[in-house]
Amino acid sequence: MAVDLGHRLAERAASFLPARGETRDRWLSALQLAPVTVFLLVFLVAPLGIFFVYSFWVTRSHTLVAEWSIGQYTEALTDSVWRDLLRNTFVIALLTATVTVVIAYAFAHALRFHLRRYQEILLFLVLIALFSGYLVRIYAWRTILGNEGIINQALIRIGIVEEPLSFLLFSRSAAILVLVNFLVPLAILPIYGALQNVRDEEVEAARDLGASAAAAFRKVTLPLAWNGVFVSFAIAFIIAAGDYVTPQLVGGTSGAMIGRAIANQFGVTFEWPRGAALAFLTLGIVLATLAVLRAGSARLVR
């Protein structure tokens, strides 16, 4: 196998080095870490670095000019178009992340505490759902929610409404629904992992000492699971804030998000610096929000 070969070469190379176990180990490790380090430096750090630099440059008549200015950032923050878009994005992202985490937590909790015998197979299903597509899902929801979609057809046929409900698609709620649908499987995993660390004995001990079910949950289970919950929230929040396909396919006007605008800057509109500035601004706000939430929640969940 290729890994075999790689390891053998590394060993052969390392055999030219001191025989003493510890130093040889160190050289071998360095050799084995070299490829990944180079790869990440060249294809992750460098691009992000250049991208960052670009956010401080400008474009003039469709060419990139290396003129330093923070104009893109100020424009993004002052122009009401961008401000509204950013605000809309964050509202959607926060709502999405919250709903996602609540559902994910309830699911993981049910698995861990009430449906223990089926844990493995249910988790298996979650894993399959996770890998069952991104683009495909979003497109499928369009089919389901549209005016001629399944839900509307069913409602009309049963007679609950006469006209199709148009707010189901191309709206903020559609965007949130679709995002949640994609993110829940992903969010379940960290929470489930964290709940595995909650030992039954600890909950039982709390109950034994007089705590009600709710109190035991709040004082024992929740603090232990909190890290997982926060990681899930952060993942959902970041992905939702940066998504550009969902708003494009199902968001409509009220579900417009900054991701789409950023993507556009790199398409026909050759506004790279603006795109870069918007991107980093979004990321900055996301990280800042998470930091604040982290600090705030740490105090509540003690």
Partner: protein, 260 residues
């Protein structure tokens, strides 16, 4: 306690239904004889699959998707596995930091990565092609492989390694006969996850692809252009592949594969 159990079962069922609804819809309509997206289905047929497979564009896209997924898998296996072995060899704070570094592509939103790579390739005058797509896929799937193989290696009882050396094995023999067989399921499982992810990847691919297309790119094009029901068939092809890969990966990564 059975009441909690029933409520839980109901809730879990609802959530799973919610998660699988779009999947079921897509697969269902891929077999729809009619060209509409309304229920009930009147007749079933393979026509959309036939249409897809006879479409040379689809065949190209399929071939490219398989190519990209395979090369990604190979690359990520070699780079990632070696990194994992190095990271878990001896505990050290430097290496823990490094592990976090390797995982950073997961924290950066796909849009970011895609656009940053686009900008980068332009800067260094590197023409976009399937190779640049592979680079993006490797970037995203590397954390999976490293995390999963790391977890497996850390659960290995070190004394097994010492026992092998004690009984006469050289370091290489120890690796080949003892360590690698025990790590192999986790490695294979994580590679399959990489394959599944790569097959469906759109976000980064969109920005880093050149003139060719992969299956998700093809679907995107079809969605922009209007209603072509064979989209469902193509999407189902992706679905089957990723589900298969995931099922096998889950089996490999399940409890049995984790005995130290």
């Amino acid at each position: 306690m059975t009441r909690a159990k029933t409520v839980s079962a109901l809730f879990v069922g609802l959530v799973l239904a919610f998660l699988f609804t779009p999947v079921v819809v897509v697969v269902l309509f891929s077999f729809n004889a009619a060209a509409s997206t309304s229920l009930p289905l009147e007749a079933l047929s393979f026509r959309w699959y036939e249409a897809a497979f006879s479409n040379p564009l689809f065949r190209d896209a399929l071939r490219n998707s398989v190519y990209v997924a395979s090369i990604t898998a190979l690359t990520v296996a070699v780079i990632g596995a070696n990194a994992s072995f190095a990271l878990t060899r001896r505990p050290s704070r430097l290496l823990n930091l490094f592990s976090s570094f390797v995982v950073t592509p997961l924290v950066v939103p796909g849009l970011f990565l895609g656009v940053a790579l686009l900008v980068f390739y332009d800067r260094v005058d590197f023409r976009r092609s399937l190779t640049t797509v592979i680079i993006g896929h490797v970037l995203i799937t590397l954390p999976f492989v490293v995390l999963i193989v790391n977890a497996r290696l850390m659960r290995l009882d070190r004394s097994i390694e010492e026992a092998a050396r004690d009984l006469g094995a050289t370091p290489f023999q120890t690796f080949r006969k003892i360590i690698f067989p025990l790590v192999r399921p986790a490695l294979l499982g994580s590679i399959l996850i990489a394959v599944a992810w790569s097959f469906d990847e759109f976000i980064v691919t969109f920005f880093t692809i050149g003139g060719e297309i992969t299956l998700p790119i093809m679907i995107w094009g079809m969605l922009r252009r209007g209603i072509d029901p064979s989209v469902n068939a193509i999407a189902s092809v992706i679905l089957v592949t990723t589900t298969l890969a995931t099922v096998v990966a889950a089996r490999l990564l399940s409890a049995r594969g984790f005995i130290p």
